[in-house]
């Protein structure tokens, strides 16, 4: 076996190694909610669509009015989450069912946006809140690509834009208060609390009135679990929750990433291999024909 043929096999071996590692890498462990996790529980059967939560959120977070929607120029009437709106009440209605639904960041237990963010501008902070630090944000918007709930929004109309998303009023939590939206809700349709307590509360409501609800707590298992939980009397897909898989979004990518880059060994090995093969070839001056 001559030098160049041997180097060819070496190269192939290196390539094969790199591509096989992901397949054999140990699957990434499932993340659990932090012990101090807090969250919200929203119940469609209690919501009357008064939008007090939306208004309170805008006040607490000093967000501008969104006057582009209904009655243009007259009302702060956001149609969905956007750069001015961190929480919104939407209406789902068809021939047989009707329901309001509140949207805001789900505060995933294993968030895709946090996995995406280069400098951890988005990270799981105290109480498991997914928080945002604009000083570390370059505005790449990869969090928007990653989030399965279309939550992070970008200030498109701003020349010094930031990401806009619900941070569970973390400044209020630090003062011992609850989020603005849960505080003002007149029907306790959305409540704030310890994550474990909220799960129990939701289970209790399901058990107490099984005919009232779809038999599922959305967010208990979906996409690895979310710290905002939902009870609903209409199917969750109809409220815009597209996904019911239980695997967290970052699972596959991070299993591969960790497999290939574990301890940075594979890249270093490949670099050494490339250098070594080149060093050998340098003397050979191979002018071989194909």
């Amino acid at each position: 076996m001559d030098t160049s043929r041997r180097s060819l096999f070496k190269g192939l071996a290196a390539a094969a190694t790199l591509s096989v590692i992901p397949a054999t890498a140990a699957a990434r462990e499932k993340r659990l909610a932090p012990s101090d996790a807090v969250g919200m529980l929203y119940d469609t059967t209690r919501c009357i669509g008064c939008r007090a939560c939306t208004v309170a959120c805008k006040e607490a977070n000093k967000l501008k009015a969104d006057v582009d929607g209904y009655g243009a120029g007259l009302y702060d009437a956001p149609e969905g989450l956007n750069e001015y709106t961190k929480t919104v009440i939407q209406l789902h209605r068809d021939d047989t069912t009707s329901s309001f639904v509140k949207k805001q960041c789900m505060h995933c237990i294993d968030p895709a946006c946090v996995g995406a963010c280069m400098l951890s501008a988005l990270k799981k902070g105290p109480f498991g809140v997914v928080s945002y630090d604009p000083d570390k944000c370059v505005g790449c918007r990869y969090c928007e690509v990653a989030c399965p709930f279309n939550v992070p929004k970008f200030q498109w109309s701003n020349t010094t834009p930031k990401i806009v998303k619900c941070e569970l009023c973390r400044d209020r939590l630090a003062e011992g208060k609850e989020p603005a939206c849960t505080e003002v809700c007149p029907r306790q349709a959305v409540i704030y609390g310890n994550y474990a307590d909220l799960l129990n509360e939701a289970r209790g409501r399901l058990a107490a009135s099984p005919n009232k609800y779809i038999p599922k707590i959305y967010g208990e298992h979906e996409l690895g679990g979310t710290q905002v939980l939902y009870l609903s009397h209409v199917p969750f897909e109809e409220l815009g929750f597209r996904f019911s898989d239980t695997q967290a979004v970052p699972h596959t990518q991070q299993t591969i990433q960790h497999g290939v880059y574990k301890g940075f060994a594979a890249p270093v090995a490949l670099y050494a291999l490339l250098g070594a093969v080149m060093f050998r070839n340098r003397g050979a001056k191979g002018e071989r024909d194909e």
């Binding site: 690509v145 898989d245 071989r288």
Partner: protein, 383 residues
């Protein structure tokens, strides 16, 4: 690197009519880029919260860097598989790569919402999120731009008074720089694929596969060879250089067979994961997948029948491979990305002209550099 000493500046007048058109497009692009920073991304582009990544990232970065993988693909061939006879093609390929990657970096800076924080990416290492595929892409591309210009530096300093002092040092160090120039694209081109793994459930199942990193790596090598062929034919026509047709024929064969392997891997993967039924569907996704597959297979058909003296066929094959790879990347980042009902994206006119401007700058720089510096091989007989 001494065997490249036969490379010579192409010379000739720079400001031809075609070149002035390139400069005009470049100038328009620069003006629009300045305007984009004044009015913001919302006004300048059609991007939105559903499609937060648009033409610039998909074309100039994701596709552009893959097309700029000629230097990488050729370096693998010359230095790892020890095919020294391809050496005359290396320097122009490195130049194409250096320009392509530099432009990609520039378009990222234009695309970022908060580019003034960009310098923090390499320096704030305590905040590095090692889970982020994008961080890896960003760091690797920054490093690779630097590596490419170092690889090219012998050509750029050859005529200067620094040449004597720097060249011996470069000759020694260059081996490890070139090795780095092969490691970095292996890493970031595969990670470009890993980026869309995080779009996970919102990526159409025909494109969403754990093999994305591997598929992106394979396509960038095929696209790299195709671009070397394309660039060499272009140079031989416009700068009257020897055309190396026999070598290009072999390179395009690599590209074509690389494409075939890609198609096979893709189909096996779909079959294993029970998604093959999606291929035959006549919706947008099934059709795009079909076009991609056709474009990957076509070069193999063209290559298997090509005669060494048919540069037209060679050219068409290379174009096919480049377009196939580009389409695969466009599909993965835009077409197959499903942010949900109500979201639409088609690039705005300024977006299109900024991309056109960046490509014009790249082309204009290429032409100027090969005319002034010893990049292209001189009159060298075919082997």
């Amino acid at each position: 690197m001494s065997e490249r000493d036969d490379a010579k500046p192409a010379g000739g007048p720079l400001l031809t009519r075609g070149y002035l058109i390139l400069l005009a497009l470049s100038a328009l692009g620069v003006v629009l880029i300045l305007w984009r920073f004044i009015v913001g991304l919302g006004v300048a582009t059609a991007m939105n919260d559903g499609y937060p990544l648009g033409l610039w990232i998909t074309l100039d970065v994701v596709t552009g860097t893959a097309l700029a993988c000629g230097g990488y693909a050729l370096a693998l061939l010359v230095y790892i598989f020890n095919r020294g006879k391809y050496h005359p093609l290396v320097r122009p390929a490195i130049l194409t790569s250096a320009l392509g990657y530099t432009m990609a970096g520039l378009s990222v800076a234009i695309d970022l919402g908060r580019p003034w924080n960009m310098w923090k990416i390499p320096l704030f290492f305590r905040d590095w999120n090692l889970n982020s595929a994008l961080l890896e892409v960003a760091l690797c591309i920054m490093a690779y731009v630097f590596v490419l210009w170092v690889e090219l530096s012998p050509a750029l300093i050859a005529k200067t008074r620094y040449a004597e002092r720097v060249t011996p040092f470069l000759d020694k160090a260059l081996l490890w720089v070139i090795a780095l120039g092969m490691l970095l694209p292996t890493m970031h081109q595969s990670s470009l694929g890993a980026l869309m793994l995080l779009a996970g459930p919102r990526l159409h199942p025909l494109w969403n596969t754990p093999l994305l990193p591997l598929l992106f790596l394979m396509t960038c090598v095929a696209m790299g060879y195709a671009m070397v062929v394309f660039e060499a034919i272009f140079s031989s026509r416009f700068f009257r250089r020897p055309s190396h047709t026999a070598m290009l024929y072999t390179l395009q064969k690599f590209a074509a067979w690389g494409g075939m392997v890609f198609v096979v891997v893709r189909f096996v993967d779909l079959a294993v994961r029970g998604r093959l039924a999606l291929v035959g569907q006549l919706d947008l996704y099934g059709v795009m997948f079909g076009i991609e597959t056709l474009l990957w297979v076509l070069p193999a058909v063209l290559a298997s029948r090509t005669h060494a003296n048919d540069p037209g066929r060679l050219f068409r094959g290379a174009m096919c491979t480049a377009i196939a790879g580009g389409l695969y990347r466009f599909d993965t980042f835009l077409v197959a990305f499903q942010p949900g009902p109500g979201w639409h994206y088609f690039p705005s006119v300024p977006e299109l002209f900024i991309s056109a401007g960046l490509i014009s700058i790249e082309l204009a720089a290429f032409i100027a550099l090969v005319k002034w510096f010893p990049i292209l091989g001189g009159i060298r007989s075919e082997t």
